[in-house]
């Protein structure tokens, strides 16, 4: 591991990669702050840039920096304007915004920055410990287990979608898998489902789909319903210091939430958003009575908990991506797509074949978190001015960048028409409350899922691999349970509700 660390440090400290970290950590917060634009849109827009750099380490470092930078930036607008830029920072506004209204905006931003830094850094340490362990286990897996593992991942994403949403998330995942079968597969060399259209011969473009699913609907939503900017304080942000006793009181919160957030992030389907809400709820429950009354009215513990948890969860979500090659969230799915486009296949072999990519990303996380802390903390008052960029200029630019991203990937104007078409479709899906991330995850995993399925079918001459390999069987049973469990629980809750009311 020491050797890996040194390789990673060497790669991460090269001039180009340092610039990437700093660039990512500047772009991320800048855009993450804008209400309504999530990390997925930004990363989708950044992908063409990252891919054309041609260096997988640099690309992943840039995109990862943008990712946690966006989460960091999202908390700034949550605190100052009560307008979370990112779903993962909604919980930060519960206590952050009241603090800002009391004139303690500077203190709130400092707490958020320190909590994010600690969450991200502790998360990176945990990633360093757990990823190699998990990937050495994963090296024992055969294609049958890989197939089963991906099924588990995909069903977990559907299962975590929330009450009444499981079928929708499942349908979206399946739709993504179906779209992945369009075009010529590597295994058969036969065009499938192209309907005779030449442009579909190579399948749907991943960048086009990512833009259409995330960036375009978000931009259209901004046009349809301009986010109302809550009146913040007078814009003066001063007194960034926190006292020693405050630091002491948030230290245990940060410690607990880093670990909890990290492990929630590792689970597929549960990302920064769930981690931050859960972190907030847990900390409120275990706080003392007096502190509990503070929650929601500007408690620094209530701000530190979600801020730590969401950054730790971001880092945690890299574990399944880097060790198994299975993304658990929309954002990591986009990162996976970018890596595949750069000819790197994440998975257990990554640590063996391309250790510099693996370790450089982890090392860059330490550097990135430090950059976020030292660069952004003093700059926050100025960066907050970005929120004033008139949307009349902003929206045409966002649309232009989505178009450019789809265009320079394929150099084909038909791709742009597909982008608009899918974008309209995705907006309709968003209206009807269908989750969009599962579709993209399904689309990206589709090829690998089918390859592993086919390989196991060939090896066992049929579907016998399902019961002849106990591990595969166990994983598939878990997958079925994951999908069935939420509806079973809902039924039981309903049956119970007909009787006596339960206390919580």
């Amino acid at each position: 591991m020491l050797e890996g660390l040194l390789i990673g440090l060497q790669t991460a400290l090269s001039l180009q990669n340092l610039l990437m970290v700093i660039g990512g950590c500047l772009i991320g917060p800048l855009i993450g702050m804008l209400p309504g634009l999530g990390p997925m849109s930004i990363i989708a827009i950044m992908i063409p840039v990252a891919i054309s750099m041609g260096d997988p380490s640099a690309a992943l470092i840039l995109l990862a920096g943008v990712y946690y930078g966006a989460i960091f930036g999202g908390s700034t607008s949550s605190i100052l304007l009560n307008a979370p830029g990112v779903a993962g920072t909604v919980a930060s506004s519960f206590d952050g915004y009241p603090m800002a209204k009391q004139g303690k905006a500077g203190k709130a931003l400092t707490v958020a920055a320190i909590a994010s830094f600690a969450g991200g850094t502790i998360g990176a340490v945990l990633l360093m410990v757990f990823a190699p362990a998990l990937s050495s286990v994963a090296l024992l897996f055969h294609s049958a287990e890989y197939f089963a593992l991906m099924v588990v991942g995909l069903s977990a994403i559907a299962a975590f979608a929330g009450t009444g949403q499981v079928a929708k998330a499942m349908l979206m995942t399946l739709l993504g898998l179906i779209m992945a079968t369009v075009g010529e597969g590597a295994l058969f060399n036969l065009p499938r489902f192209t309907m005779g259209i030449m442009d579909l011969q190579s399948g749907f473009g991943f960048i086009t789909l990512a833009m259409a699913m995330f960036a375009l609907p978000e931009a259209l939503f901004l046009v349809l319903k301009p986010k109302v900017m809550a009146e913040g304080d007078d814009g003066e942000i001063k007194d960034l210091r926190i006292t020693r006793s405050e630091a002491k009181s948030i230290a245990p919160v940060v410690g607990r939430q880093s670990i909890q957030g990290f492990f929630i992030g590792v689970l597929p389907g549960a990302g920064a958003t769930i981690a931050s809400f859960l972190g907030y709820a847990v900390e409120r429950n275990i706080a003392t009575k007096e502190e509990q009354d503070e929650f929601g009215k500007g408690s620094i513990k209530g701000l530190a908990a979600p801020e730590t948890a969401n950054n730790a969860a971001c880092t945690g979500s890299f574990v399944p991506l880097l060790t198994l090659g299975i993304p658990g969230s929309g954002t990591t799915a986009i990162l996976l797509g970018a890596l595949i486009a750069l000819n790197v296949t994440p998975g257990p072999r990554l640590m063996v074949d391309e250790p510099q990519v693996f370790w450089a990303v982890i090392m860059s996380m330490f550097i990135g978190n430090l950059v976020l802390l030292v660069l952004n903390l003093p700059l926050i008052p100025y960066i907050a001015k970005v929120l004033m960029v008139p949307r009349n200029y902003l929206i045409p630019f966002i649309l232009f960048f989505t178009l450019m991203g789809a265009y320079i990937g394929q150099n084909n104007a038909t791709e742009l028409l597909m982008l608009v078409g899918f974008g309209v479709f995705a907006t309709a899906l968003k209206f009807a409350d269908y989750p969009l991330a599962p579709l993209l995850i399904g689309f990206i995993l589709g090829g690998m899922l089918e390859d592993n399925f086919s390989r196991s079918m060939q090896l066992y001459d049929g579907v016998a691999f399902i019961w002849e390999r106990p591990m595969t069987l166990a994983l598939l049973v878990v997958a079925v349970l994951l999908v069935l469990l939420p509806s079973f629980r809902a039924r039981r809750a309903k049956a119970r509700a007909q009787g006596v009311a339960e206390g919580d």
């Binding site: 009444g164 929708k168 349908l171 259209l220 939503f221 200029y393 178009l403 608009v420 009807a432 399925f453």
Partner: protein, 160 residues
């Protein structure tokens, strides 16, 4: 019927067509030697089509109860939002896609950015023109020189 069930109905149609292709028409062109393999190009799509049809039906028949949620945008009152602006911007994107080749990158992009801002209600023409021209120039330079991807800058008749 609510929008989510209409969408499920449309997707059901797509899945049925997909399933029909996978189950009945796709294997016709399969080479004889491939028929002996345990897996055909249609095997995986067959499984997917069945699962997707089941999922569509669950939503369509309302088998999974969900509590109504406060949506960000209520599509039933779509007319109250800036629907016109959104549709015009989509039309503008299509026009941009069609103009990119014949008009060249520089003209199309300046036009796109300016008309886009104008649709959203901006009327400071000089600032708009300056911002659009500078941004177009910078992006063109980055794409052309830094990323090394060729895009025709000017219309064909000027010699771009």
């Amino acid at each position: 019927m609510a929008l989510d069930r209409w969408i499920a109905l449309i997707l059901l149609g797509i899945c049925l067509a997909y399933g029909y292709t996978a189950w009945f028409t796709m294997d016709a062109g399969l080479a004889p030697f491939m028929r002996r393999a345990p897996i055909w190009p249609s095997t995986f799509p067959k499984v997917l089509s069945v699962l997707a049809i089941v999922a569509c039906l669950i939503i369509l028949l309302g088998l999974e109860k969900s509590e109504p949620k406060e949506a960000d945008i209520d599509y039933r009152r779509l007319g109250e939002y800036h629907l016109g602006q959104a549709v015009l911007l989509l039309v503008l994107m299509v026009v941009y896609a069609l103009c990119l080749r014949p008009l060249g990158f520089l003209f199309s992009t300046v036009g796109f950015l300016m008309i886009g801002s104008a649709i959203l209600g901006e009327r400071k023409w000089v600032i708009m023109a300056l911002v659009s021209i500078i941004a177009t120039g910078v992006v063109w330079y980055l794409v052309q020189e830094v990323l090394g991807i060729y895009m025709r800058p000017l219309p064909g008749f000027i010699g771009g």
